[in-house]
Amino acid sequence: MNDGPMGEDNGPMGEDDGPMGEDDGPMGEDDRTGATTGESGVVVDAVGKTYEGDGPPVRALDDVSFAVDGSEFVCLVGPSGCGKTTLFRIIAGLTDASDGAVRLAGTPVTGPTTDMGVVFQEYHLFPWLTVEENVGFGLERSDRSEAERERRVDEMLGLVGLAEFRESYPKSLSGGMKQRVAIARALAVDPELLLMDEPFGAVDAQTREMLQRELLDVWASTGKTVLFVTHDVAEAVTLADRIVVMAAEPGRVAEVVDVDVDRPRERDDPAFGEHVARVRELIGARP
């Protein structure tokens, strides 16, 4: 398997040129309020979220800042209750932030946009549409010609290996196949960023490993920027160039960890184990 991800070396920005210096510590000391026009990837800039309810206001996220460079694969991990899902929804434009901003390729995210391909944990395929209709759903709203749309659907189905199931309805697919369709559907509109919320959380361990390998292949062949939310540390170390580790109460960035392990990564590689231990410690050690 050729696993040389284009992202690591070919990204439009070297990793060290990212808007956020990696050794700067979790909270931004540098001033990043001015949007740089040449920005690629996604920038999460001092995002906070406060829920006002009947009781005292709850601070779900506080001053969350990090960046995902173009073509980079970043995982977001953290203990339950650290606001991962809230942050995911804010980045996707499905929930408003109380403060701060999210920028995608330099443009502030003010609502859902087709520049982002979003994949949810529970697949959420449209059950009344066939596999190919699901994949083509977003394309119908683009200005592509019909021939172009068909070609794109074919390409996506080939990418996730589901060409022969194109006329099936989701009810007849396994969990792993449904998630492949969801990924193909998200990628079909050629988004800047693939944003995934625990996408492999609902499938069995074996399927999960297969999907992880496939996702890395897709990433390598498309060069997409990926932001992948997970609670599974080993999964994050398997996939990511960098791991944004979050802490809870309030949800904030604890640290950003570089994963300097060659791909394909094997779980019995000592370096792999060290990274897993380090991230686990960060999650556990922070109050």
């Binding site: 434009g93 449209f126 059950p127 066939t130 759903f137 309805y169």
Partner: protein, 267 residues
């Protein structure tokens, strides 16, 4: 709508609809009917005909009404009430249910009105039917439409309420813009199973309402039932009830076949 409704109906679907594909089930059903008629026959021997006529007497009346042409005329007349009443009531009910359920504004504006009008039985509107339409087919269709409206309104309203917020989120991230696009591409197909259940319930209810809708003198099956009741011709009453049952059965089987076809994607 992207649902595959193309293709032809084949015999298999019709047989499944009628329950003809399972011989054992069919045999049991037949046994049930035979048993019922037998008990009916035995009980009718102990009662005068104006209390409970025998199955044979009902059969005789049925044949008589049919051969004299009274039954076909009455049925044709009722069909002319049922078809437009059901179509208009169903269409408006589904449209209003979907719109009021989807739009918070419409819902707020109409909720008190809906709660006020909901308990009014279609029969209580006969005065309006006569005043607005007259003692004619349109008046009878109006009564049926009111009944169909409420069933479909509530079924559609509930079905739209039940559409998963997650599917709407997926739609938003895939570029679905605006209420019209959202309703057309996601809300309607997602709520279609619930809407069709309402339509099916309404189809049956409307055959029941045929009797009520003809109470003020419009000819039809309902009128025949009321006329025969007034003359204590119970065998004729039952013969016409059988007509309504058969019509309901026919429509229901056909609708279920359509439903199965339209919802082929369902698990």
């Amino acid at each position: 709508m992207a649902t595959d409704t193309g293709g032809r109906f084949d015999g298999d679907e019709l047989r499944t609809g009628l329950g003809l594909d399972d011989p054992r089930r069919l045999a049991r059903g037949a046994a049930g009917i035979v048993g019922f008629v037998a008990v009916w026959h035995l009980v009718s021997l102990t009662q005068p005909a104006y209390v409970l006529p025998s199955p044979a007497a009902v059969g005789g009346s049925f044949a008589e009404e049919l051969s004299s042409g009274t039954m076909t005329t009455a049925l044709w007349s009722s069909v002319r009430h049922w078809v437009p009443g059901t179509i208009v009531g169903t269409g408006l009910g589904v449209a209003a249910g979907v719109a009021f359920s989807w739009s918070g504004l419409l819902d707020d504006v109409t909720a008190p009105l809906v709660r006020t009008l909901r308990p009014v039985p279609p029969l209580a509107l006969i005065g309006f039917a006569i005043a607005w339409f007259g003692i004619n087919d349109a008046g009878a269709a109006f009564i049926i439409a009111v009944g169909a409206f409420w069933i479909n309104f509530y079924a559609s309203y509930g079905a739209v309420e039940g559409v998963s917020e997650d599917l709407l989120d997926v739609g938003r991230t895939l570029g679905v813009g605006g209420d019209l696009d959202m309703v057309r591409s996601i809300v309607l197909p997602a709520s279609l199973p619930g809407i069709l259940t309402g339509v099916r319930t309404g189809l049956g209810r409307c055959w029941m309402l045929v009797v009520a809708s003809e109470i003020f003198g419009v000819p039809g099956v309902g009128r025949e039932i009321l006329r025969a009741s007034n003359n204590l011709l119970v065998d004729t009453v039952i013969a016409y009830i059988l007509v309504l049952s058969l019509m309901y059965l026919l429509v229901d089987v056909a609708f279920r076949a359509v439903q199965r076809r339209v919802l082929v994607w369902r698990a």
